[in-house]
Symmetry: C2
Subunit: 249 residues, 2 copies
DNA sequence: TCATTTTGTGACGGTGCGTCACAGTATAGG
DNA sequence: CCTATACTGTGACGCACCGTCACAAAATGA
């Protein structure tokens, strides 16, 4: 009698169910609406049961963020498969990020909220680990791109370690979306042609600065970005935020 | 009889007093400790009075952030006055930011928390405006540097508008500190030589990429950064977070 | 069938928010 | 100096949410 296994499975399924509920709340009313109270009221389990899965409210947000980050990683992987040359792929990554951010501003809000409070204290070690792993898988994508570029001879020397460069790329990307999504008016105030254009310009500068070939002088990345935007829109849209996307089956 | 004026002055003084209290709470117990409840309990005014000044809790955080941003702007201005050449000054700005971030991690937390929730709804228009102005004054510093570089012929052409470039610089800087201060373990996991070194490397890449002279090949910015770090430490420390720093007198 | 273990519950004490009717105090006019 | 009026300050109140815990219900297996 596999009682043990069945119990474990049911537990996982219920967690997925609860996270689906949380996702609904997030989409309908924003992250502040994700409360233990409402989760219990809307779903079929009482508050006490919720605390069998999550140590606290932040733990729910953390688990939710984890799903999202995994989803982003999958989305990026798919987007990158559309082009071949390493620098084109970097651009594809930026474009995909941008499209995703436009479709799911709440995702970034979630990330910010988690960064703002100190997680480590109250969140369960399990969910924290899971989130960290998910983040690693996103970073791994950038890192693989750098590896590819070096192999193919498009990127000769780096002034810093590959890890540090990976980190810098991600950092710049997320920082930009933070400012933009944090205050939608910011873009207007600063006469930024558009969030996208700005990001690509920054990316161009960094990549040119580091000598990642073909340099922007040798290839029309603006045009490429435009066409990628067309091409990737449906791909990104497929990774929407509807509940269950990343649930176990 | 300047009754009107006196009242207005007293009002401003009380607001400063309340923000001093909030700062104490922030320093002692973190931003979650800043509640209307405790502010009223610790200070000499009742809750109802607090709501004469602030529309809600977030409004307090907003006003507090405003003070901080102004303080950072002042600090940066001072730091930049230590060197003359434009690109050196950019480096000084990065170093100053870094030193400040190390000394006041709570500042960044505050910024993140404000970006995570939608301010515009509940925060008073006054405080929001003030915060926006404060931010502008920080951006203005970066922008002035770009102006200087162009005037002096150290920066020929930009692939984007000056505003966009300014924005990109700030963005990258803040994004990095977000990731680092959000999760102190991140640095360790990624074998980042150090947060500073990483930031400077990124800055170097961007500045080289955009052709801001002298290029890093022509000048030892690593050594300059190290010496700036020594030189600026006491300057930055002077702009500490003790209450009243930015109060009206 | 029933003792035992596991799972699920929701009432409870506590904290914090934002409001509002009222108490207290200053101002100015008589 | 007194009083009517306007302004300022208050804290109790209703509400929402958190996280806990003693107990109820159900599943297990002997």
């Amino acid at each position: 009698m596999g009682t043990r296994e069945r119990r474990a499975r049911e537990f996982r399924e219920r967690e997925a169910y609860l996270l689906d509920l949380a996702t609904e709340l997030l989409l309908e009313q924003g992250q502040d609406a994700i409360t233990m109270e409402r989760l219990a009221a809307r779903g079929e389990y009482a508050k006490g049961t919720l605390y069998k899965h999550f140590t606290c409210r932040e733990d729910v947000l953390c688990a939710l963020a984890c799903r999202r980050v995994n989803n982003i990683a999958a989305m990026l992987a798919q987007a990158l498969s559309q082009v071949t040359r390493s620098r084109d792929r970097v651009l594809a990554m930026f474009v995909a990020y941008e499209l995703y951010a436009a479709q799911h501003p709440e995702d970034f809000r979630l990330t910010l909220a988690l960064s703002a409070g100190s997680l480590t204290d109250r969140v369960s070690a399990d969910h924290l680990d899971e989130l960290e792993n998910a983040r690693q898988s996103v970073f791994a994508i950038s890192k693989a791109l750098i590896g590819q570029a070096r192999e193919e001879g498009d990127l000769a020397a780096l002034p810093v370690s590959e890890d540090a460069f990976t980190f810098a790329l991600e950092t710049a990307c997320q920082g930009s979306y933070m400012l933009v999504s944090g205050d939608p008016e910011l873009r207007r105030r600063w006469n930024l042609p558009s969030g996208e254009e700005n990001m690509h310009a920054l990316a161009s500068m960094v990549l040119d600065g580091v000598g990642w070939r073909p340099l922007s002088a040798d290839r029309d990345y603006t045009a490429l970005a435009a066409s990628l935007r067309q091409q990737l829109a449906p791909v990104v849209a497929r990774f929407s935020m509807n509940p269950g996307t990343t649930s176990a089956t």
